[in-house]
Amino acid sequence: MSARPLPPAAMLRDAGLSALVALGLFVVLIGLKLTPTDAGMVLEQRWRALAIVVATVFVGRLLMLQWRVWRPASAPTPRVLAEALQRSGRWVAPLLLVVAVVLPLFSGRYVIDVGILVLTYVMLGWGLNIVVGLAGLLDLGYVAFYAVGAYSYALFSTTFHFGFWVTLPVAGLLAACWGVILGFPVLRLRGDYLAIVTLAFGEIIRVVLINWTSFTGGPNGVSDIPRPTLFGLKFNGSGDPDTFAVFFGVDYSITQRIMFLYYVILGLALLTNWVSLRLRRLPLGRAWEALREDEIACRALGIDVTVTKLTAFAIGATFGGFAGAFFATRQGFVSPESFTFTESALVLAIVVLGGLGSQLGVALAALVMIGGTEALRFVNDLLSSLGIQSDFDFTQYRMLVFGIALVVVMVMRPRGLVSGRVPSVALGQRTEIAAELVAQGRG
């Protein structure tokens, strides 16, 4: 933007013009109001409100023009910000991990519950990151694998009384199978076409879950799903010898179960992270990234593009399945309502916001998106502790707030919170590759 100051007359003329447009727009919208009364319609005139709006536009426009002049010529560029973030990344990740590990020891049930929710989305984000971030395949139906995992555990445990730890790999395997089943028809599709088919796939799974009543229970879902056990020790207050409380000789409290669930999802999320990080440095992960960069060149180098894409879908789906099984055991109840497109969109938003391919970025984005939404519940408490009484219900507006926040972040950092790519192998020092060079993948 030009920092050239306008002469005062020009500024006034500009602001006056804006005010005139506002007047024209709002004279009927705000200035006049029809109110139905017993005596018929009454035309109410609200010139004062109109004047306030027009004056606001006038002053606002003046301030905007002035801001353009006063704004520092070279605002800190995103690159500087990115480098700072990259440097801080060294200690942010370990710090987050330490906080995640000790959090349940120092907090109440509510915080642990929110922690479980955040970690579930961190795990889903990391799982989807394999497909979207590394292989560059836009998947809008990721929730389908989450659903497959959840229903796998729900049905195996309620029908055959399988335990959580036995069913977990089965749920992952089944989700992987569905990943391959989805993968086959979409192998030849790219970009928008791929996105549409994956979107449809997610919906098909949900619609089948709703309508196949005899198998899935339809809209009623599956309830009474057993809770996970710690080496056979249950978490309940029945006083049986095979419960956690009796075995360790402590008093039963519900927090024990919540804490256990928290560490289970933390472990699963870290497993996802470890496998992703490890795969990135192995030929398979490198082939995924090469596929994202240039599919034709991959083919010319003898890489089987079909197999490479299918493994990306399958491995991404496996972690979705694990997360789903965990979701089922945590809720104790699953129904198709939990697996709507909104979930897919939310997980994708986390991945995009965090930065495609960045593990730390995805974790931060999940924390902000899920944890931040919860934090809005406490805005009023915070305000009242500062002595401000407010009846404004921020939780009603949290989706709006996050929509705006997303737009702002994407405008300022179009490649996500943590962009750039660290090479998987180096002769000398690994230096980060600027995001501008890295392809985003068009499917």
Binding site: L282, A290, R299, A300, L301, G302, I303, P423, L427
Partner: protein, 276 residues
């Protein structure tokens, strides 16, 4: 050496009603640098795409005879042409993995050596299957080729940040990392300055000396005439000349194709005008 390595037999490629290549036959011999030349639109890149599996020929056969085995390239799926028949290629418009480093580009090229199957690839996550040694060997090979093309100092830079001439050389190094018996180069000298063209000629001679045959499409006649053992000339999808550089250069049909052939009448007319 006179053993035929690549035999193209009656290759025809039609796109709808357009015949891009018609009944083309030629042989590239083992240990030779074979050049395919011709005016723009002669069908050179189409022939290349058929050989490297990016197009499926409408009719005709392409056979690669390596040692005892004969690979029918016209019927193999694209990735197997590189993997099994050991034919590598570069592209007219460079196709590097721009967001990956120079070294990573060469590691991706050795994918099949590093990961013989998906099962191996997954086992490597848990450190099973001797992946470490394979990776060490792959880095060694990559280093050798980086040295050969003079890019060792830029191994850890992103490929997309290299200047044009270096990108061309990196693409050749990447193709060579797949251990090919035949290297197909689509206009490798395009956009290079004279000094870089000379370096390219040297590099190709060294590749031939290393035992890899070369098939190249090229417009730079200096490069073609200097290094080729054998030249095939195409025009309008048909072969118009085939032979050693000296023969091809003297062939009136080649001269006509490049300089534009006028009708007999036109020539007479021009002669008459000149006389007048």
């Amino acid at each position: 050496m006179t053993t035929p390595l690549l035999s193209v037999d009656h290759l025809t490629m039609r796109f709808g009603g357009l015949t891009a290549v018609s009944a083309l036959s030629f042989v590239a011999r083992s240990g030779d640098i074979t050049a395919v030349i011709g005016p723009n639109g002669a069908g050179k890149t189409t022939v290349f795409n058929c050989i490297t599996g990016f197009y499926r020929p409408s009719s005709g056969t392409i056979t690669l005879a390596d040692g005892g085995a004969a690979h029918p390239l016209h019927a193999l799926p694209g990735h197997l042409i590189t993997r099994r028949a050991k034919v590598a290629r570069t592209f007219q418009n460079i196709r590097l993995f721009a967001g990956m480093t120079v070294l990573e580009n060469l590691m991706v090229a050795q994918h099949n050596m590093l990961m013989p199957s998906v099962v191996n690839g997954l086992l490597a996550v848990f450190g099973i299957g001797g992946y470490r040694q394979a990776q060490k060997r792959a880095i060694e090979k990559a280093t050798t080729w980086l040295e050969a093309v003079g890019l060792l100092g830029r191994a850890d830079d992103p490929a997309g940040a290299l200047p044009y001439g270096q990108q061309r050389r990196l693409e050749i190094a990447r193709a060579m990392c797949t251990d090919p018996v035949l290297l197909c180069l689509d206009e490798p000298a395009a956009g290079l300055n004279p000094r870089e063209s000379d370096e390219l000629s040297d590099l190709l001679m060294r590749i031939r000396a290393g035992g890899c045959s070369v098939l190249l499409i090229e417009h730079d006649m200096g490069v073609v005439m200097r290094i080729s053992d054998h030249i095939v000339v195409l025009d309008h999808g048909k072969k118009i000349s085939d032979g050693a550089p000296a023969e091809v250069r003297a062939d009136p049909k080649v001269i006509a194709a490049y300089l534009g052939e006028g009708d007999e009448d036109d020539i007479d007319q021009v002669a008459a005008e000149e006389a007048a």
